[in-house]
């Protein structure tokens, strides 16, 4: 395939990974009003889990994906366990620390993760059989998976479970008085969300065949917050749209920054990251409902007796 086609395929696949991360964040932020500032950590956790299972332990790729889902869910469970009874601020701090700790471990446990060299040679499904078409097929598979996860989350959202979750978001006390076990709802939602983020990580690793600690910068978390906020907090479709918008924004600013003369590469990178941060603040301020606002159906009226 030509360079441009390859570039487009790469964008579609990367956008898919971001879309999964955005769906993951939307489930807890939009669904239950919790935030995960350590999204990059769960992304890394899944990528490493799958890479280690397939490369170091020689397991099939499917086992890598399942392993990533399990490890992600367990990670999410551990992180929320100590904080669900507390104010949301505490979960925010713990998730930040979690991501940083994952990065430390990835960098320093060289016997396991090969440190900053990263793990290379991660197998891709049917890579040999597909040859030059591998990237395109993988991107299509990623998009299909995004659609599947979106569909499942939408089912969840429309189910009584999703309604209870939103009740927790709106007012914990009221939900509790209505007999909902809010602790369980919050822990479960967070564990599912963490598993989806880990799945995105596994997908990333098998696509690029390489993972390293530097890939999982904390900045990714900011990208995803921007994606969900721009798309519309509480709307799964908005999260997917937002993820592709963020990719477009990142790529557009890459070309725009490179067009400014007399700047060093460090300055180009600084301008782009500055714009991402600024965009998030501006969206939260001027368009908090995002491009696709959440539908909140009106409460059913009691049938009139007259």
């Amino acid at each position: 395939m030509s360079g441009w086609a390859n570039y487009i395929v790469f964008i579609i696949a990367t956008g898919g990974f971001y879309a999964l991360l955005a769906l993951s964040l939307n489930l807890i932020w939009g669904g239950a009003g919790m935030v995960n500032l350590g999204l990059a950590g769960f992304f890394a956790l899944g990528a490493y889990a799958s890479a280690l299972l397939t490369v170091s332990a020689g397991a099939p790729i499917v086992a890598g994906f399942v392993g990533a889902l399990v490890v992600g869910a367990v990670g999410g469970y551990v992180v929320t366990m100590s904080t669900t009874r507390l104010r949301g601020d505490y979960l925010a701090i713990v998730t930040l620390g979690f991501a940083e700790t994952i990065r430390l471990i990835a960098n320093n446990e060289i016997w396991l993760t090969r440190g900053s060299d990263g793990i290379s040679g991660i197998p891709g499904p049917f890579r040999a059989a597909l040859g030059g078409w591998f990237n395109a097929a993988y991107a299509a598979g990623t998009v299909a998976l995004v659609v599947l996860v979106w569909f499942l989350l939408r089912r969840l959202d429309l189910s009584p479970y999703g309604r209870a979750l939103r009740a927790v978001r709106e007012d914990q006390q009221v939900a509790q008085v209505a007999g909902k076990r809010i602790l369980r709802f919050k822990i479960e939602a967070f564990a599912i969300s963490a598993a989806i983020a880990a799945l995105a990580g596994a997908l990333y690793g098998h696509f690029n065949s390489y993972v390293a600690p530097d890939v999982f910068q904390p900045l990714i978390t900011i990208y995803i917050f921007l994606a969900v906020a721009a798309g519309g907090v509480g709307r799964a479709a908005g999260a997917v749209l937002g993820a592709y918008l963020v990719i477009f924004f990142l790529e557009a600013t890459r070309f725009a920054a490179a067009a400014i003369p007399d700047l060093s590469p460090v300055q180009h990178a600084a301008i782009r990251e500055m714009l991402v941060g600024l965009a998030l603040v501006l969206v939260l301020r001027w368009r908090p409902q995002g491009l696709l606002p959440e539908h909140i159906p009106p409460a059913p009226r009691p049938a009139s007796t007259s």
Binding site: S82, M274, L284
Partner: protein, 287 residues
């Protein structure tokens, strides 16, 4: 034995410096009721502010410290008024997310202006002081003294001045404070000014100890959060106690695990405290 004592001494020194940004973070939380995650950027701003005053203008350390406080404090107050305050109706978590975004913005403005190079203060090199088998650099002693002086000034400000008392009253009970005629917006702005300023002073002292680059603040931010949480989020004496605990734990941990795991100590401390005693050493409540 000596290595343990040496680690404890190092821990006390780093804990005392850590106390400044921890107080800043916890004080902003106490008054504004949201975690201002831009503290890393405030600390880095202070480090650059002090460095510019020292290396470019030739100011001595104490004057540079004032510059560090002023730069970080003013930027903190500006972003509070312009960007964060209007978001408050959307809830504390939205404000916290915006603060993280602003942290990225500030960090990258510094990176754009100064690059990623390490900057050092223009100070004479001095030989380490030895006593009782322990070793400490004169710069560390000076930093310790400066940090203690700043803390003493802060406690004096909170205990004896009118506006300091108003700040404590607002932190304690905002409604009652307003009933007493305390203007909440003024107090809030002052809390950010002082809180971000303290982060700046802490960042400069860290820069004196090591070097200044766009990630100077980010490298300690987890320890700062840990100190505030261990001490009890919102409690200023708690932040001091928490910072000493974290400083000691981090240094003592280096005896057992690789020094690169220092910031993981903070994470473990946060998990332990939140599981066993969420309100921390001296805090009030956490739910």
């Amino acid at each position: 034995m000596d290595t343990v004592l040496q680690a404890a001494l190092n821990g006390l020194v780093s804990g005392t410096i850590l106390a400044l940004p921890a107080i800043g973070f916890t004080a902003m939380f106490a008054v504004l009721r949201y975690p201002n995650f831009a503290v890393a950027a405030f600390a880095t701003l202070g480090a650059y502010g002090g460095w510019m005053a020292n290396a470019w203008l030739g100011w001595p350390v104490v004057a540079a410290l004032v510059a560090a406080f002023a730069l970080a404090g003013l930027v903190g107050a500006c972003i509070e008024r312009v960007a964060l305050e209007p978001l408050r109706p959307a809830g504390p978590l939205t404000v916290a997310i915006a603060a993280i975004a602003l942290n990225v913005v500030i960090e990258n403005i510094l990176r754009f202006s100064f690059g990623n190079d390490l900057r050092g203060y223009d100070l004479p090199l001095a030989r380490d002081v030895h006593f009782a088998g322990l070793r400490i650099a004169p710069q560390q002693i000076e930093n310790l003294a400066l940090a203690l002086a700043v803390m003493a000034a802060l406690f004096g400000f909170l205990a004896f001045t009118r506006i300091g008392k108003a700040m404590r009253a607002t932190a304690d009970n905002p409604d009652l404070a307003r009933l007493k005629g305390i203007e909440p917006r003024r107090v809030e702005l002052l809390a950010v000014l002082v809180g971000a300023g303290l982060c700046g002073v802490g960042g400069m002292l860290l820069g004196l100890d090591t070097s200044v680059d766009p990630l100077t603040g980010f490298r300690v931010v987890l320890s700062v959060f840990a100190a505030a949480v261990v001490g009890g989020l919102g409690s200023i004496p708690g932040a001091v106690a928490g910072a000493l605990v974290i400083g000691l734990a981090e240094e003592l941990a280096t005896l057992a695990v690789a020094p690169t795991y220092k910031s993981a100590v903070g994470f473990v401390a946060i998990l332990l405290v939140l599981t066993l005693r969420p309100r921390g050493l001296l805090g009030e409540r956490a739910y």
